[in-house]
Symmetry: C2
Subunit: 184 residues, 2 copies
């Protein structure tokens, strides 16, 4: 799970993904479990609703977007861990058969004021359909560890939950006795 540390990110970097097709059956089963409203369950019932036809739950789109993000080259060390989002919208519905992909851009990189071993990156992820139309835009803040410094890891060993939502142990990643390892 070793990946990019905070020092490896910079505003302007972009990341893309492969595509995933959203099929009718998964729209309906996701809807039945998590968002049981007519426009996510049945073509006929959906026709006379605001969506004028079957559409994926926005949470289905969000979940698929996460999958695409995990599979992209973004790969923060320790995984994609969201503290929250500054903006989140669904400009148009996802329809059966749509093929979704993402484009992510790093907007900002900043060390944590309270946690010397980590920082936050602000990333805008746009989910696009096969016609390159945006179906979701999210600007999320991700918790990313700073690159460990040899010998610097004993400074803060207790678990800590930051009131700002940065719920993280103060020592993010254990390093070996020989010092931190990374793939850079």
């Amino acid at each position: 799970m070793i990946g990019r540390f905070l020092e490896d990110f910079a505003a302007g970097q972009t990341f893309r993904s492969g595509r995933v097709r959203i099929d009718t059956e998964r729209i309906k089963t996701f809807g039945a479990e998590f968002d049981p409203q007519p426009f996510h369950l049945d073509e006929e019932a959906a026709r006379d609703t605001i969506f004028r036809g079957l559409a994926a739950s926005g949470w289905h789109t969000a979940a698929v977007t996460m999958r695409l993000l995990v599979e992209s080259d973004l790969k923060p060390a320790g995984g994609i861990v969201g503290a929250g989002a500054d903006e989140f919208r669904w400009p148009r519905p996802v329809r059966p058969g749509d093929e979704l992909r993402i484009e992510s851009e790093v907007l900002e990189v900043r060390p944590s004021r309270s946690r010397p071993d980590q920082g936050l990156i602000k990333v805008r992820t746009t989910t696009l359909n096969q016609n390159d139309e945006a179906v979701q835009v999210i600007i999320a803040n991700l918790v990313v560890p700073r690159r460990p410094t040899p010998g610097g890891e004993e400074a803060a060993a207790s678990e800590h939950v930051d009131p700002a939502g940065e719920r993280v142990p103060s020592k993010y990643r254990r390093t070996t006795a020989a010092g931190p390892t990374n793939d850079h």
Copy 2:
């Protein structure tokens, strides 16, 4: 699907839900499909991550929250249709066995400037665990139709996509020849 129209909502109204239990297996299968990272997939692999143990994907929490919201008494006419969110965060992880419920509060009600037949309500939904700790907070803008006026429905019959993300047909709900029906 008839429910509350814009005129039936007011700032300060609150809505609650029942509870749903999040079990280990669903955390893992949701993670495998949508958020395949060690902390959502396997107890052992999760131990040495930022979460220090298995935790539900934030998108799983979001999806379960939607289910609870759909089942609550909020019930806007035409369903719960989100235009987007102003705030979205996960202050603490959801663990196997947690029992989640929601508390929603209407913060603001406003007619649409461009669409005389609808408006937006701003709703803060807090998802709480069995210890009454917040695990998710979202402030979402929901599209809600205004109460139809008899004879007023021909004014705008074309479909329309609002650039601000209010993707809605201009005539939200068909009314009968005898005039609108509602359950109030």
